[in-house]
Amino acid sequence: MTGYFLQAFIYLVAAVIAVPLAKRFGLGSVLGYLIAGVVIGPVVGLVGDETNVIQHFAEFGVVMMLFVVGLELEPKMLWAMRHRLMGLGGLQVGLTTIAVMAIALWFSIQWSIALTIGLVFALSSTAIVLQTFNEKGLGKTEGGRNAFSVLLFQDIAVIPMLAFIPLLALPELIDKAQLAVGEAAEHHEEISLVAGLPGWAYGLVITAAIAMVVVGGHYLSRPLFRFVASSGLREIFTATALMLVIGIAALMSLVGLSPALGTFLAGVVLANSEFRHELESNIDPFKGLLLGLFFITVGAGIDFGILAQDLGLILGLTLGLMLLKALVLLLLAVVFKIRHSDKWLFALSLAQAGEFGFVLLSFTVQNHVIPMEMAQVLSLVVALSMFLTPGLFILFDKVIVPRYRQGSHQREADVIDEQGTVIIAGVGRFGQIVNRMLTANGVKTVVLDHQVSQVDILRSINVKSYFGDATRPDLLHTAGIEEASLLVVAMDNPESTTELVKYVKQTYPRVKVLARAFDRGHAYILHSAGADHIQKETFHSSIELGVDALKCLGFHPFQVEQQKNTFKRIEQRSSKILYQAWCDDSSGERFDNNYRKLFIELEETIKAAMLKDRSDKHATSERGWTPPPKGYDEVLDHDDAQRADNDANG
């Protein structure tokens, strides 16, 4: 037991130190994990052979990652992207594989190995690239979007690759493996439902399993999640999410399919579900940690002996590979008319090999496709190319962007035709109206509410909404707060509203926050929490009712309208002063005597302004329509006559 604790502690310490440091130096988290692994493995030697075992376990992070990728892909979106995805992605994978394979063949490597190397190197690093896009805000650019399509195609292509690679197994390697009986036995005696079935029955079982995932995901998940959510226990929801992913992975392994494929499918099926963000935020930490662990084991597995021995070869291979990949991407950018700096972003961002390369490599070794020694060299090439990627992004930022910016300096500012999403937290009586106004004007909104029943009602009238507690940072993250332009906080609990406003303004100062205030005091609290726009929930409707009342009493409607505007104007002007008084008070009791005095003054000002209208000709609310004093026209006439005289004389 102590041994496990120590090991876990070493891995965690390495990650906790290395990852934040790597991020600070602009290298991204993936490189941080890799470095952490290198340090505790080959450099210091704190961890040893158990990394291989842990790596198998950590590969489950990749399965979870595909589940999350699936969750983010509504079937509709997938369909809309199909040309980019198949065209750009398919050609990138195809051309790169062929080019790498051709070069490998030229170096007289056996064709099956050459093809496998091509497949491994065709993939880029989704983790590094998407992470960097997020950090630099490049995801919405033309180059970023196209790069995403390619990455997505690659992620999907991994699944058939995993199915295909075992067919390339080398007989002599299998022979060698069978000598190591213990290991082989472990591999072949896994529990299987399909062992020994005839071909047609096997096909039937597979179809049934996939149908189970799709139909079950669509029809059974909802009642299950609702049942769990109504218990209000967060950890049970997490348990359900894990149960789902692990269950599907187990089912897929049982019938001999890739667990990644199964969870990806389940993800896509659940992408439309109201529980999507909640699911994603529950799985995310596990996915992140397992992937991190995976990267650490990769780093720990790097053999410095080999690196030192073949330094020239490995460096040459890495640079050659990146050059080749960038050239293929540039060619595609030209064919698909990606222009200007986007072309370079597209080519440079995807020029590395990726984490799936590690997965494929360890898989190829397990399946006796590539000899161990070669896989180690290739692993180093993949890792090195990932190490170099942040450099390419820096090149893009510092050299390429400025060059294109100069060229486009003369152009007038672009009309913004794409609006970022608006996240609405809380969609009861208040948030609903906000949402209706926004969606009626074609604004994309993401609606969150923590009451399942509320979400159900909205879904039943075709308002897309998600279940979840918006005050939780991870849920906000999956709802897309990084890319959102506005957050509307319309929850009816003043404390949670304040908490959420504070959190968002601190963490994402770029996002504008519009908040619903419970009352005047709450409005002040929200103001000091940094909310950009605040509306008191009852202020406007109360004023409108006051307007109705005045009209019923026989006031002229237009005059009432003016009085209302005056009322609001004075209220607004004095609210700044009142806020100051509220802030200055340090007695703890927020509404102290000074504040009360000021509030009474405000009431007097309003009353005076209203009365003025009836007693004084120059009233605040009616200035413009106040007639000039009687007899003023005679003066004007006199002036004009005089001017005419002057003109005649002059």
């Binding site: 007038e412 104007r569 200035r623 413009g624 106040t626 000039p628 004093p629 003023y632 003066v635 004007l636």
Partner: protein, 206 residues
């Protein structure tokens, strides 16, 4: 050459800007010129709740006043009329001590749906554009401003299809720059029916 001698206050009144084909481009052109304060009245007062103090202060702070608007029923859109009703107060713009606008040049830059030929005694609009704007001319006179004949884009609905926008935009930019740099012969301009075809005459040292 490009020093700011006169500060221009440009008041735009256009109630449906998402449909605008000519006024907004012209407004953008003006915005880019140094020395021009461009105010979108409908944008600033969407509920017609005009801040009289602020508007009067703006008038005091500038040397030249320009109204920019599409011609609605031979007059300004409602917002500009409301603006006049509220801001040009007795005691501020006219009457006893009402001398704040005295001597400031005043110009209307407008767009009209009808063709240029329609705005004459023989045309279907029967009056010239200057005649139709007589209330504004008289307002300028009563407030002591120096009235300049209008700069008008006629046939505005088809201006961009007929490629007349660029030429008009150039004229507009040239006039605004000349006004800022105080290179316009105001007295010569006063006698014209409109400024459209006379920029060469009235702008000095271009």
């Amino acid at each position: 050459m490009s020093e700011i001698k006169k500060r221009i206050l440009l008041l735009l009144a256009h109630p449906s800007q998402h449909r605008s084909e000519v006024n907004i481009p012209l407004f953008e052109t003006a915005k880019a010129i140094e020395g021009v304060t461009a105010v979108d009245l409908y944008g600033e007062y969407p509920t017609f709740d005009i801040d009289i103090e602020q508007e009067q202060q703006r008038l005091v702070d500038h040397d030249i006043i320009i109204f920019q608007f599409p011609l609605y029923w031979y007059s300004t859109p409602a917002m500009l009329k409301e603006w006049q009703d509220l801001v040009l107060e007795y005691g501020f713009a006219y009457g006893t001590d009402g001398e704040q606008l005295k001597g400031k040049p005043f110009l209307c830059a407008l767009t009209a749906g009808g063709k240029e030929e329609a705005y004459q005694a023989q045309g279907y609009n029967h009056f010239t554009i200057r005649q139709l704007l007589a209330p504004l001319e008289q307002t300028a006179s009563l407030t002591g401003m120096h009235y300049l004949p209008p700069l008008a884009l006629f046939g505005a609905r088809t201006a961009s299809e007929d490629d007349r926008m660029d030429a008009h935009r150039r004229k507009w930019r040239r006039l605004l720059k000349a006004l800022v740099e105080d290179r316009v012969d105001l007295d010569m301009a006063s006698g014209l029916g409109k400024l459209n075809h006379s920029l060469d005459q009235i702008i000095l040292g271009d």
